[in-house]
């Protein structure tokens, strides 16, 4: 059972992950083969120049222990190398995990409870000293310190003794389940089989931190770089971050990061409209600018679509993310599967997608897993609603359920202007369900109140809008938190909102976690998703599509299915 404090971090997971992932990639049509095919400036990418990053969110807590990233993040990945990392390729290839500091993805024992990594030779920090496996162990141990919280809960959940460990400042002895037999070897001992450990090893917590240079909570001001860039300026907790080349980084040991620009200037705290306006104008330094966290909104897309030159400077990508309706079967009438099925039939995905920004910004979803191979997506549509909903079928089911005179329900949503769980989506559903004789009352909650309410087992409403993003592109972190019965949390943040506790599902999750063949695991996750879908505990609505502008001098756009956004480590400005 997870500890409440551990779980509560996951609340932020979906959002934070998104933000940081978004920071990683930025341009180029997602399905294009060539990296720079969508770029305004053609030609071979050259070294040199300054890349400007215009962002809304600051790079706060720029400490590898505190960052919550998917695949090591976008900007963090320029400074922090990790044991493994994401493949910096366009599309589906980019959803693969590849070695970074390690020579391979790790050698598991027979039941995937022990993972051994060997470091590459010649790895150096920004001061020229050698990176050792002990530094990686120390880096992970730091992330257990309460004052350096913020990272994902997996290490704490998976490592033997992790649940009680308080970090190296309080417990000098360290964590026994991480062993360093020599300077280049590190061994992890887990409390249960975890075939997806290589995915977890992409997170910044596996970044080496030299113990002698550790300044605790102040380390974020100048973390010691293991990547191609080092921090030269960090103002106002990451509001402005200037990175320059790390002379001791060698491309020979790093196949993933291209590091074309000499300097990277990250400016945050900007308004989304300002960022998009500056990128579309592309004047002065903004010509060599990208954003790692700001998508085009519906109105901005409408303007960009009408301008061919501008449209050529839009990168499109897919991040593993699903927006859905969630039911609480403990609340009447949603305890009745027929009612849940009726609503599944009645939804009008076209108007929901229009409310989310239209077909360019959202794709209809009938499966809980995102439609990407890495998730093992298995297509299914158990309650076919067509494009605009099947009101007749819904009415039929309601009649069978005893609601032939119609039904009145309350739909809970947030008041955030995010086109995800916001009033626009709720009203679109309200209009669609009306056709099936279901009167929907809307209950809009302020954003924080909303996430507290839907993740509180005692307060959870019966019918609400929800979303989920992947910590890494696999079925595991997508299905387990939502459908594993052992992850139901009565006191604390609960993500199993359908309170599903099906021994068969739980067993299958355990079985898949034992697999170290990620392809085989993916297929099993897809099949499991299809099976869970029959229970109609959720109604998948749409998967978002990311569209982002970049400046006219920006080249070598790589957008992977892992992050869905342009990868700053690949971008060139000359």
């Amino acid at each position: 059972m997870r500890q409440p404090s551990v779980i509560s971090r996951r609340v932020a997971a979906a959002t934070v992950t998104l933000v940081l992932a978004a920071g990683a990639a930025a341009c180029g049509p997602g399905d294009s083969k060539g990296g720079d095919s969508g770029s305004g400036a053609e030609g071979t990418p050259q070294k040199g120049g300054t890349l400007t990053v215009l962002n809304r969110n600051t790079q706060q807590d720029f400490d590898p222990a505190r960052l919550y990233t998917s695949g090591g993040g976008n900007i963090p990945s320029l400074v922090f190398r990790t044991l493994t990392t994401r493949n910096r390729e366009d599309g589906a290839d980019g959803a693969q995990v590849v070695p970074d500091l390690a020579t391979d993805l790790g050698k598991p024992n027979k039941d995937a409870t022990v993972w051994t990594y060997t470091l590459k030779e010649g790895l150096k920090y920004e001061d020229g000293t050698a990176i050792t496996s002990a530094d990686i162990k120390y880096g992970i141990e730091r992330s257990f310190a309460p004052e350096l919280s913020g990272g994902a809960p997996y290490l704490r959940d998976w490592l033997i003794g992790g649940a009680d460990y308080q970090g190296p400042y309080k417990d000098k002895k360290g964590l026994d389940s991480i062993e360093v037999p020599d300077d280049r070897t590190i061994v992890f001992r887990l409390n249960k089989p975890e075939g997806e450990f290589p995915f977890l090893a992409t997170q910044t917590q596996t970044t080496p931190v030299p113990k002698a240079k550790d300044t605790g909570t102040k380390y974020e001001e100048h973390p010691v770089s293991s990547g191609p860039y080092k921090v030269v300026t960090n103002e106002n907790d990451g509001e402005r971050l200037v990175l320059e080349r790390n002379p001791h980084w060698s491309a020979k040991t790093d196949e993933e990061r291209k590091a074309y620009p000499d300097r990277i200037d990250v400016r945050s705290g900007l308004d989304a409209a300002v960022i998009n306006q500056r990128l579309s104008a592309s004047q002065g330094p903004d010509a060599a600018a990208v954003t790692t966290d700001t998508n085009l909104g519906p109105a901005e897309l409408a303007k960009v679509s009408s301008d061919k030159k501008l449209a050529a400077r839009v990168g499109t990508g897919h991040f593993g993310y699903t927006n859905y309706i969630a039911f609480n079967p403990k609340v009447k009438p949603f305890d009745n599967p027929k009612v849940r099925q009726a609503i599944s039939y009645a939804v009008d995905r076209s108007s929901v997608i229009n409310a989310a920004g239209g077909s360019s910004l959202a794709e209809p979803a009938t499966t809980f897993l995102p439609e990407r191979d890495s998730f093992g997506h298995a297509p299914y549509d158990h309650f076919p609603a067509g494009k605009t909903g099947d009101a007749a079928k819904a009415k039929e089911l309601l009649k069978e359920a005893g609601y032939d005179k119609g039904l009145t329900v309350t739909l809970t949503h947030s008041n955030a202007k995010d086109f995800e769980t916001s009033p626009e989506i709720a009203t679109a559903l309200q209009a669609a369900l009306k056709k099936a004789g279901i009167t929907v009352k809307l209950q809009g909650l302020e954003d924080n109140d909303y996430s507290d309410t839907i993740h509180d087992a005692k307060k959870e409403p019966g019918f609400f809008l929800a979303h989920w993003g992947a910590d890494w592109p696999s079925g595991g972190p997508f299905l387990a938190p939502i459908f594993d019965g052992r992850q139901i949390v009565e006191n604390g943040a609960n993500y199993n909102t359908g309170f599903l506790n099906d021994p068969e599902v739980n067993k299958e999750i355990d079985e898949i976690n034992k697999l170290t063949d990620l392809k085989a695991a993916a297929a099993r996750w897809g099949a499991l998703d299809k099976k869970i879908g029959e229970k109609a505990l959720t109604v998948p609505l749409f998967h978002p599509v990311y569209k982002r502008l970049y400046g006219q001098d920006v080249k070598n756009i790589v957008i992977s299915d892992w992050t869905g956004v342009l990868d700053v480590s690949q971008v060139a400005v000359k």
Partner: protein
């Protein structure tokens, strides 16, 4: 908010209503062409709001029906066709992303915008009258207490209080009523100050003393002697507060604590439209333009009411008198004096 200005302007109106009453008032109002035109505009808007179901039925539309086929989904949901999708069916075009009929939403929005502002104005005037009169007629202790409460109320930042109140009240409470209650309930201090001041002046006048000496009770005096004389400043104040309340409602809806979707209000439409100013300008211009016209008309009308009720300004209007050209000069002097008084 020009609270102080409103108080001042309303205060400039006389305590004693013109003797000739309603008919003279109407004639004076009609004599001001701008005010007359404004009155017609306001009347038209009120009729449109009242007849919203009828008008939308004539247009064959509904404010909440989605038309996904009328927007270009691939381009972010921008309406298909010129000027935001204007067509024979959709007279003012459709809303981006949803395809809902803008004409239907505008006329239904008028109901909310005007209705909320009207209810809020009535509430704030009623509260102001009761509190102001109680302070003027009550004991010194009551007067002190109510006056200090009024002072505190004047100092309260209305938007901040309204934001807080609207955020904590449960969703189940009918939203338009709640907004009217909030706006009216925290905005009465201006009226109560004027009423108290005028009532204190009136109290010392002979006709009130006569009534008191004849043994009439306090509330009888208030109703029979004071209220008729307070009508002029209070009506003036109400006429000027009404457009302000429309703006407050729009602002609250714009900030996301006002009217909840799918109910349309002009302020709420403005919120939705703010990012669309380049891609679908009509969507923004319609509610913005209507708000502008409504508030302008009501303000001009309010100013007209004030002028018509002001005997000093009335001479300028030359209603019911047979002044010659020479009289015009006198009017100018009169106007000037009014301004000095106000200052």
């Amino acid at each position: 908010m020009s609270e102080a200005l409103l108080v001042q302007e309303a205060g400039a109106a006389p305590a004693v209503a013109p003797a000739s009453g309603a008919r003279l008032f109407r004639r004076r109002l009609r004599a001001q062409r701008a005010a007359f035109a404004a009155a017609l505009v306001v009347l038209l808007l009120v009729l449109v709001a009242l007849a919203a179901p009828l008008l939308t039925a004539v247009a064959g539309q509904d404010p909440n029906t989605y038309h996904p086929d009328l927007v270009d989904s691939a381009a972010g949901g921008v309406p298909i066709g010129p000027f935001g999708g204007i067509s024979a069916d959709h007279w003012l075009g459709v809303e981006p992303q949803t395809g809902r009929d803008l004409f239907a939403r505008i006329v239904y929005g008028a109901r909310v915008s005007l209705g909320v502002a009207l209810f809020a104005t009535v509430l704030q005037i009623t509260l102001g009258l009761v509190i102001g009169l109680t302070a003027a007629l009550g004991s010194r202790w009551v007067d002190q207490l109510l006056s200090r409460i009024t002072d505190i109320n004047v100092a309260l930042p209305i938007m901040v209080i309204a934001l807080a109140l609207l955020a904590i009240v449960p969703e189940t409470f009918p939203r338009p009523v709640l907004i009217a209650l909030v706006i009216g309930g925290i905005n009465w201090a201006g009226t109560s100050k004027i009423v108290r001041a005028q009532a204190l002046t009136l109290k010392s006048l002979d006709f009130v003393s006569a009534a008191r000496l004849s043994g009439r009770g306090k509330w009888s005096i208030a109703r029979r002697e004071l209220l008729p004389s307070l009508a002029a400043p209070v009506i003036t104040y109400a006429a000027l507060a009404f457009p302000t309340n429309i703006i407050v409602e729009a602002a609250l809806s714009f900030l996301g604590v006002g009217i909840k979707p799918p109910t349309p209000s002009w302020g709420q439409m403005l919120t939705e439209a703010d990012t669309w100013y380049q891609a679908a300008p009509t969507y923004l211009l319609l509610p913005a333009g209507l708000l502008f016209v409504t508030v302008l008309a009501l303000t001009v009308l309010g100013e007209g009411v004030r002028t018509a009720l002001d005997p000093r300004a009335a001479s300028r209007l030359r209603v019911g008198t047979k002044r010659t050209r020479a009289g015009t000069k006198q009017t100018r002097v009169g106007t000037k004096r009014t301004k000095e008084d106000a200052a």
